[in-house]
């Protein structure tokens, strides 16, 4: 790991990230395209607008729901999880 690299977890799995990178970008770099399941139809969703407008890339970060993966910065040791359902 270079001095610019950090690590967080997604559903328990270690994910590398560069300092300053968003959680969503780091996940996409590891080919993780699905980030949540919708409330009613349980469809998979991932990054769509990429700039914090659409609220579709929601994940749970350190127990807090509804965090936008595309804009939240990856921090060392962060526990990120797939958000299942409830997002309102």
């Amino acid at each position: 790991m270079s001095q610019f690299e950090i690590e967080f977890t997604f559903d328990g799995k270690a994910i590398p990230a560069i300092i300053g990178q968003s959680v969503g970008a780091a996940l996409l770099a590891t080919n993780q395209r699905s980030l949540r399941k919708t409330r009613f139809n349980k469809n998979k969703r991932g990054i769509f607008c990429g700039i914090g407008v659409c609220f579709d890339c929601l994940v749970v970060v350190d127990g807090v729901t509804n965090q936008r993966a595309c804009i939240i910065e990856a921090k060392p040791g962060m526990k990120v999880q797939t958000q299942d359902g409830s997002n309102a």
Partner: protein, 461 residues
């Protein structure tokens, strides 16, 4: 109390802040991003590889950003979210989440430079992971150094598709298809407009060169009309269609890809202006924009606006408008300064170019025929076209506002930013009517500008 409050750190906001500060006004610049530059000059931290290859002109952006940072008259709040704005007879109050706390800013002078985001159209499969906006693909590249996928389809309409396709190629991705829905090369006929904006042509050629070096040929009169998921529920392929001038489908073909970047121009983010009561109008491209006078002043004295929220026109027009807004706002707070004729001339020249582009890249109503009753329209609340039709045909909704109340369409976390504009068109079509300006403007009004956790408010100042 700050004399001038600028909202937004993109081309318009940076230019406005600098112009106001140069005229002697103390400025507070509020930006929601972690780094100044807006979407156009979105840049990553210095930890990433060379960022310049993802930009045609990062130099201008860095010049403005560094100038803003160097000016002691300008205070910058980054990662600051304005969640509420009120207007009490010329005294404006902004409520902002900044550094984990609520801050309240009172001012008599605001310059709104809140920008725009990709316009999207709903179509079957547009909610599958892997379907993205071109702006999203570009933001991942420019801001985070990440290529969204290996095999990328870039589609929709407008000149913005070019830098996105070029960016994918520069980052080592394959653009399997670059599809422009419009056939028109009408802008070529506006010869004098091009001659006076040669810089823009240079920018276009820069992207076209990269695209042709990547062995990609753009196809005109084509669109992505369906996206298909594989067994893992993620994007596997798209149906591309040859379309007529009105966007009706003529011929279909399926191609494999892992990302589809699809955008239909831009939608201005006028939420903040709307909250403050600034007059909004419907532009030629049917987007709702903020009305401004010759000095970039809105219908409310003391509130100015510049950049994409006053009409989609690109970074150079935004900068020209920002300078005028900055000078006019400084004058408003008592600085001895005047907007020069040269400033207005520069703005007019760039406005003519923007007008030519809007004319060349329309979004035609045939897109509605790509949807079926099962197609998701509101991504947040999972409302389908069938649900919307039911609200009109069975429940008797007579406008998009009522249809929204019946279905919750546009009432999710994005507050209709993504589907609102399309819902107005779809409901009007169901009613066999044309959308009115009132329909369009009411679809963009939001009581809360950005959803925030209530806990933060409890710790406010």
């Amino acid at each position: 109390m700050h004399n001038v409050v600028v909202v937004g750190g993109g081309p318009a906001g940076l230019s406005a802040a600098l112009a106001a500060a140069a005229a002697g006004a103390p400025v507070l610049l509020i930006d929601s991003n972690s780094r100044l530059g807006g979407q156009y000059w979105r840049n990553s931290s210095d930890n990433f590889d060379d960022q310049h290859e993802q930009h045609f002109d990062l130099e201008t952006g860095l010049l403005l950003i560094n100038a803003v940072k160097a000016r002691k008259e300008i205070e910058v709040w980054s990662e600051a979210q304005i969640w509420s704005a009120t207007n009490n007879e010329g005294k404006f109050t902004l409520r902002i989440i900044y550094q984990g706390k609520e801050k309240i800013v009172n001012t008599a002078n605001i310059i709104l430079c809140t920008g725009a985001y990709d316009r999207t159209l709903p179509f079957p499969g547009w909610d599958i992971p892997g379907v993205m906006t071109p702006g999203g693909v570009q933001s991942l590249l420019k801001g985070h150094g990440v290529l969204a996928g290996k095999r990328v389809v870039v589609a929709g309409t407008g000149p913005f598709l070019l830098p996105v396709a070029a960016g994918v190629i520069k980052a080592g991705g394959e653009v399997v298809s670059l599809l422009e829905a419009n056939k028109s090369r009408r802008w070529l006929t506006s010869f004098n407009v091009i001659l006076e904006n040669l810089g823009k042509l240079k920018e276009a050629f820069y992207y076209i060169k990269t695209i042709s070096e990547g062995k990609v040929r753009a196809k005109f009169g084509y669109a992505v009309i369906t996206a298909h998921a594989g067994s893992n529920g993620e994007l596997e392929s798209v149906d591309i269609a040859k379309i007529d001038r009105n966007f009706n489908v003529k011929k279909l073909k399926n191609i494999k890809c892992d990302v589809a970047a699809i955008g239909w121009g831009f939608t201005a983010d006028t939420s903040l202006a709307g909250s403050l009561g600034c007059k909004q109008v419907v532009a030629k491209d049917e987007s709702v924009i903020v009305w401004v006078d010759n000095d970039q002043q809105t219908s409310i004295s003391g509130i100015f606006a510049a950049g994409e929220i006053t009409g989609i026109g690109g970074s150079e027009l935004s900068m020209a408008e920002g300078v005028i807004a900055g000078i006019a706002a400084a004058k408003f707070v008592g600085c001895k300064v005047e907007v020069l004729k040269a400033h207005r001339k520069r703005r007019a020249k760039r406005q003519r170019f923007a007008n030519a582009l809007i004319k060349a890249y329309p979004v035609k109503s045939g897109w509605q025929s790509w949807l079926n009753d099962q197609t998701t329209v509101c991504r947040c609340e999972e409302v389908s076209l069938g649900d919307l039709k039911y609200s009109v045909e069975e429940l008797g909704a007579t406008d998009s506002r009522t249809a929204k109340l019946f279905t919750r369409c546009g009432m999710g976390l994005c507050q209709g930013r993504i589907c609102g504009r399309s819902v107005v068109d779809l409901v009007a079509n169901e009613l066999k009517l044309l959308p009115t300006d009132t329909d369009r403007i009411s679809a963009v009004n939001r009581p809360i500008i950005t959803p925030i956790p209530l806990g933060v408010l409890a710790q406010g100042e």
